[in-house]
Amino acid sequence: MLSLNHFLRPITTRPFSTGRCLVRPQKHLSGAQLWKRHAGTSPEPSQPSRPSSEPSRPQRNVIGAFTPTSAAIFVVVGVGLFWYFRNEKAKLQEQREKERMSKSYGRPHVGGPFSLVNCTAAPSSSEQRFTHEDLLRRWSLVYFGFTNCPDICPAELDKVTAVVNELRQSNPDLPVQPVFISVDPARDTPSTIRTYLTDFHPSFVGLVGSFEQTKSVCKAYRVYFSTPPDADPKGDYLVDHSIFVYLMDPEGRFVEAFGQTAEKEEMVDKIKQFVVEWSR
């Protein structure tokens, strides 16, 4: 505000050349007066009776504040503002570019090579093994769990099923595959996993490996899992594990981890957004 006042002062006070305008305000036609004249109603009687000996003065006053000085100021300020905004825009663009760069650099290192048994492949099919390369050319939703899971895994798998269904409906051409990886290889046989997954989305891929392979894929995906130390492979026990649904893009790269609190709608919206960003 202060700077604006400073800037306006030269125009309003006008110390040079147009001081008379302030001295003789009666000569200056107000907006209402002008309007009256244009509208054709009776003009002020005093105005026309004024001697026309100073033809240059009223003209000057009609021009008002528009003097060479103010014109110069107008142009200077205009050019200044133009440069200022152009500069700001460039700065903003630079910042956005930086953000974009840091985003791609900041991608968490989740995922990696693995090779597991594909429990859901048709017995005659040659795709009995499933590797990281089978994540390519499609979007994958990867969940780690075990079939004897009391309530969290089934709820999460139901959620993934709903998400896949919704995506298939809204984006029919989008290749999406839900993947279940067992963290309980001692008890989860391929046939157990195959039966278990029939309760969920029909396109679910069920994977299991040896204990070492399971440990390695869990490490790659930053998944914690813990089997009780005295667990009997035929016994009744629970496996403690982290609960995340990992979204992997068609290049097999990690995109997002959805926690237990992520709602179905939120997941669908986010995935759609990622798909748009990815295909750019």
Binding site: P150, R187, T192, Y196, D199, G235
Partner: protein, 95 residues
């Protein structure tokens, strides 16, 4: 009632039907505990309460699940207390 034994569980996967039966039995048992004012499952036994609900619970759920649900009931209650405490603390600090 469908008999649910742990030996069956080991050979085949738990199905949606098994699970919902177990959850239903659990909810009935916990509702009974709430009625008699018992938090920790097992504490109601000395009063002889909820015996039939407990039996159905044990029949329909694997032992590991029962342990897990029972533990979680106690933990959830403690969390509820802690949450309430935190909320009142937050409300007090605002004053």
């Amino acid at each position: 009632m469908w008999p649910f034994t742990s030996s069956k569980k080991d050979t085949s996967a738990s199905t949606r039907e098994d699970r919902s039966k177990c959850w239903e039995a659990r909810d009935k048992y916990f509702a009974c505990l709430d009625r008699v004012g018992v938090l920790k499952p097992g504490d109601e036994k000395k009063d002889g309460a909820c015996a039939s609900e407990d039996k159905a619970y044990e029949q329909n759920c694997a032992k590991s699940w029962i342990e897990y649900f029972n533990q979680r009931r106690v933990i959830a209650d403690a969390q509820k207390d802690r949450l309430a405490q935190a909320n009142t603390q937050a409300a007090n600090s605002k004053r």
